[in-house]
């Protein structure tokens, strides 16, 4: 993983000798929910992640200002699948196929702290070409994935031949010679080996075909099938486990150009069948649900494409749409492609279509600002991409097809079901990964090896696992999200337990442990987060304070004023980091912002650059006292600080805002305030259990409705 440190030296403040050239006053640095409410949002400034940007609502086109009572659920711009969503969708579309083509796609652009924001996701020529190649790779893999049991098929054109060439989906053996294919045989058994072929006779005898397994003949047959009607020829073989080579050999070539004689053998594929039922991984059988009938191939084509496209495009498809796809396939087939190749072409077309690559939501009138409900299918997609970063499953499709998904009770039932499904892991990896920064834990986080010799990749992995397991426990246990900050339990393995000074658990895995006797609570004091929010040698109260302000309180500070030299503090045996940052508060130019940033970070000074607890810094006992922003209540250390944070309205509202941003794929702005307030009240009834927050969001009109946009002149 080659991620860069997300905060450059320019963003951190340290000792500076003088403030030469500082320009304007550090004014307007406090951008809060309250101030936006009070004065119509004039305090909103640059587009920091997580900020209350008043243009953010409705994807850049704020409908109404607050003060009116007209509710505007806004709109989301045409939403391209991001990398995680593309991979997951392919996985689910092809019944668990193990392939992740989006790993090679360029990184997604991100905004408001997330990489699923519709306005900044675009298709570029490079990306489209990668989509095209991914579609081919995926379909090829799907059609050769026949699972352990049942049948395995190998196309002759993909084999190794010593004569001949590919022709229209077959391999043409034009003189004496063979084409061989490899098979992975899982279990030793009696198999039926089938070959689909036809011949072109030009001599007295029919073309003769021999089949060999690892060079040993299992039978010879006269091929009487002709091009108009290829046939399957069956042989018996006892195959032992391992890689087997099965060859099809043409025995009796005839070629006389003067007499116009040319005898050839054409091989389509070879199959081995153990006679058992199709295995669970038989993706091929799920995709190709029928065999084409000669003379009426288009019917099977239509059947396959209709079923697939409806799932791929996540909505019912029109007759016209299927007609066009069938026509594409049939043109290729009538031009010489095999039936299967013609279907593959159409399948590829489905996967590069904008209806697959984007989550399409239509307005009856795209220029009207009147809100309307989403279709059930559009709603199903919003729900599944929110909770699973993937396409709807069969049950969601069923509700959508029955037109019952808008019903709040039905939505609620799906939410409960979906959060309990393993696919909700996507919320841990993608939502928490970005909101709570667990994705940022990686080997690019450099620490001074002289100061932290125990810091290694194994420790980093444990740190990340702790953060992920911790968040996972909020998905279904009904825990209040306030406990993200105040939890007295966490998850550690032996390595982390030693790191934290906790009793070492038995075994090698992770266990839930109590922090009641430890000076730690919740996520803020977890080693992973503290490691991310530090420098290689010292802690970074400024990074930490800024993180709390942005991620937990939605009060992002402004960037430093121009001309300020920003350096991290030096490790100093005689000066604590707190002392080194004094100038922030001493100088009025800096204090305006730093009086809010620093105390939150300094409250975490007990947790060193790799998250170990310490009592001394710079030769003195650590002073971790401070107060919440805007001259808020005081605390004496992190333990008290997290209690105050957890109880603050800013925290719960901010949690709702971040979750909404991720759920919708757009920033949350002034026009959304009435909805946000409703969701805060509704989720607050259960003290902000994640499940109830999700239910409040998906049953809100913000999630179930949309509108068009006024065209700009």
């Amino acid at each position: 993983m080659q991620s860069e440190d997300t905060r450059t030296g320019a963003r951190t403040l340290g000792v500076f000798a003088s403030l030469v050239g500082v320009g304007a006053l550090c004014s307007g640095c406090y951008i809060g929910h309250d101030s936006a409410r009070a004065d119509g949002g004039s305090a909103a400034t640059a587009d920091d992640s997580g900020s209350v940007d008043d243009d953010a609502g409705s994807s850049g086109d704020a409908g109404e200002t607050e003060g009116d009572e007209i509710l505007d659920p806004g709109r989301v711009t045409l939403h391209r699948l991001n990398r995680a969503e593309y991979n997951n969708t392919i996985r689910d579309l092809f019944w668990g196929l193990e392939i992740t083509p989006a790993d090679d796609f360029p990184a997604d652009d991100h905004s408001y702290g997330f990489d699923n924001i519709a306005d900044v996701l675009s298709v570029t020529p490079l990306l489209f070409e990668l989509y095209e190649r991914a579609a081919v790779d995926v379909i090829d893999l799907a059609l050769t994935s026949t699972g352990g049991g049942g049948t395995q098929r190998s196309e002759a054109e993909n084999g190794t031949a010593d004569v001949g060439s590919a022709q229209g989906g077959f391999w043409a053996l034009t003189s004496v010679g063979q084409v061989a294919m490899s098979f992975e045989v899982a279990t030793e058994a009696d198999y039926e080996v089938r070959v689909r072929a036809y011949g072109q006779q030009a001599g007295a005898d029919l073309p003769q075909m021999e089949v060999l397994v690892d060079g040993v003949s299992i039978g010879t047959v006269d091929v009487d099938a002709v091009a108009a009607a290829p046939e399957e020829y069956a042989f018996d073989a006892h195959l032992i486990a391992g890689t087997r080579s099965i060859a099809v050999r043409f025995l009796n070539d005839v070629y006389d150009p003067d007499l116009g004689l040319d005898q050839n053998l054409y091989v389509d594929w070879v199959e081995i069948d153990d006679g058992g039922p199709a295995g669970p991984d038989d993706v091929r059988a799920k995709l190709l649900t029928c065999e084409p009938v000669v003379g009426a191939e288009a019917e099977c084509t239509r059947q396959v494409l209709a079923a697939f496209t409806e799932r791929a495009w996540r909505r019912p498809v029109t007759t016209a749409e299927i007609d066009a796809l069938v026509e594409l396939a049939e043109s290729a087939r009538l031009d010489g492609d095999s039936w299967e190749d013609s279907v593959k072409l159409a399948l590829k077309t489905v996967l590069v279509s904008p209806h697959f690559l984007f989550r399409v939501e239509l307005d009856p009138d795209p220029t009207s600002l009147t809100a309307h409900p989403l279709t059930d299918h559009e709603l199903a997609s919003r729900l599944s991409y929110f909770l699973w970063s993937s396409m709807p499953d069969d049950e969601l499709f069923a509700s959508a097809n029955a037109a019952t998904l808008h019903d709040p009770d039905e939505l609620q039932a799906h939410v409960v079901r979906m959060l309990a499904d393993p696919k909700s892991e996507a919320l841990v990896a993608n939502f928490a990964g970005q909101w709570l920064y667990s994705r940022a834990i990686g080997t690019h986080l450099v620490k001074d090896p002289a100061l932290f010799p125990e810091y290694d990749e194994e420790l980093l992995t444990s740190m990340r696992t702790e953060m992920e397991m911790f968040f996972r426990s909020f998905l279904t246990e009904g825990r209040s999200l306030r406990e993200l900050l105040t939890s007295e339990t966490t998850y550690v393995d032996a390595r982390l337990a030693a790191h934290y000074g906790l009793p070492i658990p038995e075994g090698t895995g992770f266990q839930e442990v109590s922090l009641a006797d430890a000076p730690r609570r919740g996520i803020l004091t977890q080693a992973g987060l503290m490691t991310v929010l530090s420098h290689p040698q010292v802690t970074s109260p400024v990074k930490r304070g800024k993180w709390v302000l942005e991620q937990l309180l939605c009060l992002p500070p402004s960037p430093p004023p121009p001309g300020v030299d920003v350096q991290p503090p030096e490790p100093d045996p005689d000066a604590s980091v707190r002392e080194q940052l004094e100038q922030h508060r001493a100088d009025p130019m800096c204090a305006a912002c730093h009086n809010n940033i620093d105390p939150l970070g300094l409250g975490l000074e007990h947790y060193d650059p790799i998250g170990r607890y310490r009592t001394m810094d710079g030769g003195k006992p650590i002073d971790a006292s401070g107060n919440l922003p805007n001259a808020g209540p005081a605390f004496s250390d992190a333990m008290e600080m997290v209690d105050l944070l957890a109880q603050s309205e800013d925290f719960t509202t901010c949690t709702v805002r971040h979750t909404l941003t991720y759920a919708l794929g757009r920033g949350v702005g002034a026009a959304d305030i009435p909805y946000v307030e409703d969701i805060v009240v509704q989720a607050g009834a259960s003290d902000f259990a994640l499940e109830d927050l999700v239910i409040a969001i998906v049953t809100s009109d913000m999630f179930r409705m949309r509108r068009g946009e006024e065209p700009s002149p």
Binding site: Q2, E4, T77, V123, E132
Partner: protein
């Protein structure tokens, strides 16, 4: 991550890295403009976090300069390089922090980028101008490579979009994304090749590919008609991408233009990744798959750890050296290693013989960084190393000191590449005399 099935049966098992291919008349690109002179190539290599200039700037001007410590690895190509001192990229200057983002954004564009996370603005870079100028001459208009995709969490630099730190090639306000996986890059360049296929087979594949693209275009047009303004922009981006691919597929000859040996694109560490990318760049040019290439050895403000060459501590962190000798010692080692990789590339290009000189003779390679010194974050007196005489139009083998905008260098090079331009970037005055 499970890799897709390879459709390229001829690649065979990994056989290590391959280098320069001997030039054969038979490999002459089908569309070579023999009558108009050699095929000219443009390359840009980006090194992050500035350079330790004390070990970079030669002490004398002119043709008999001595290679300083960082540039010593270029000894074998000394007569082919041009070190330029005194070029300014003032488009990187602004009254707010964010020099890495700005410097990377303007590295090739010489445009001041917009301070925003979402409202991204920049100018078209010389490699993309050249790609447009060449049209469908080559199968790929340009090849944009890198080693790091970049993190998606948090800000990238002081309120600037991550797009600025991660991309050096731009078309107007649109960053052109780069490939960071050698296997994918190789695939994109050469997967159309299949020596086992007949010309008829290749023609059939091309026709099939075009039928899919055709369908995609009409599908998207129909969708666009139902959408509002902002959504239409998204569909337009999709349509432009499909059209561009369609044009290229149509123009592509159905016969492969080049023989390839086995190439193993797997890598386990950063140095191997870099070398593989250099190999791919050489192959791409030899087979005339493209003539405009950019390569980012890490992203803006990269904090890559160079412990593997005895300089641990994070590149970005060290580059804020605070004038400490111990940091200088590590920085010069890092910078020299980076130039060793450039030397690997230039030597391969020099040893690649073409009909009218070497590949290096017919190219212009631009190597630089987003800032001058990592501590000062300055955008003046930029570290600039050029290589290749661009078909005899550039004088190499010398160290030249000037006091000019960097824009003027690109203006001159753009004209030598055959483009009809009279200005470049935001600060050009006149073409630089090179």
């Amino acid at each position: 991550m499970k890799r897709a099935l390879s459709r390229r049966a001829f690649l065979g098992a990994g056989a290590g890295m391959m280098l320069s291919l001997p030039w054969l008349e038979a490999m002459m690109p089908r569309k070579a403009q023999a009558a108009e002179g050699p095929a000219l190539r443009f390359l840009a290599i980006y090194l992050p976090c500035g350079i330790h200039m004390a070990d970079w700037t030669p002490s004398t001007e002119g043709a008999n300069f001595t290679l300083p410590y960082i540039l010593e690895p270029l000894a074998d190509v000394k007569s082919d390089i041009l070190v330029l001192s005194g070029l300014d990229n003032t488009a990187g200057e602004f009254s707010a922090p964010g020099d890495h983002a700005r410097g990377t954004g303007c590295f090739l564009s010489c445009h001041l980028v917009n301070l925003s996370e979402t409202d991204i603005q920049n100018g078209t870079t010389i490699d993309q101008l050249y790609a447009d100028h060449l049209g469908t001459t080559t199968p790929l208009p340009s090849l944009l490579l890198g080693t790091a995709g970049g993190s998606n969490v948090g800000n990238c630099d002081s309120g600037y979009s991550c797009a600025y730190s991660r991309n050096i090639s731009w078309k107007g306000n649109t960053p052109m994304p780069k490939l960071t996986d050698p296997a994918t890059a190789f695939d994109l360049l050469f997967a159309g090749f299949d020596p086992n296929a007949t010309a008829a087979e290749m023609a059939r594949r091309k026709a099939r590919r075009l039928s899919v693209l055709d369908y995609a275009l009409s599908d998207a047009q129909a969708l666009k008609a139902k959408l509002g303004q902002t959504d239409q922009v998204k569909v337009e981006e999709y349509l432009d991408s499909v059209r561009e691919l369609e044009l290229r597929v149509q123009a592509e000859s159905t016969a492969p233009a080049c023989e390839l040996e086995a190439f193993d694109p797997t890598f386990g560490d950063y140095p191997t990744q870099v070398k593989l990318m250099m190999d791919i760049m050489v192959l791409a040019m030899q087979c005339d798959r493209t003539r405009a290439i950019t390569f980012m050895m890490e992203n803006g403000g990269s904090n890559r750890d160079f412990g593997f060459i005895g300089a641990p501590g994070g590149h970005h962190y060290l580059s804020h050296h605070n004038n400490l000798q111990e940091n200088f010692d590590k920085l010069r080692v890092i910078d020299r290693w980076e130039i060793e990789q450039v030397a690997y590339l230039l030597n391969a290009m020099k040893n690649s013989v073409e009909a009218d000189g070497s590949l290096l003779d017919n190219s212009f390679v631009f190597v630089g960084s987003e800032i001058e010194d990592g501590n000062s974050h300055a955008h003046r007196n930029m570290p600039v190393l050029c290589a290749g005489s661009l078909g005899g139009t550039v004088t190499t083998g010398t160290h030249t000191v000037v006091d000019r905008p960097l824009d003027d260098l690109f203006l001159a090079v753009g004209q030598k590449l055959g483009m009809d331009i009279t200005s470049y970037g935001q600060n050009s005055t006149a073409p630089l005399d090179v």
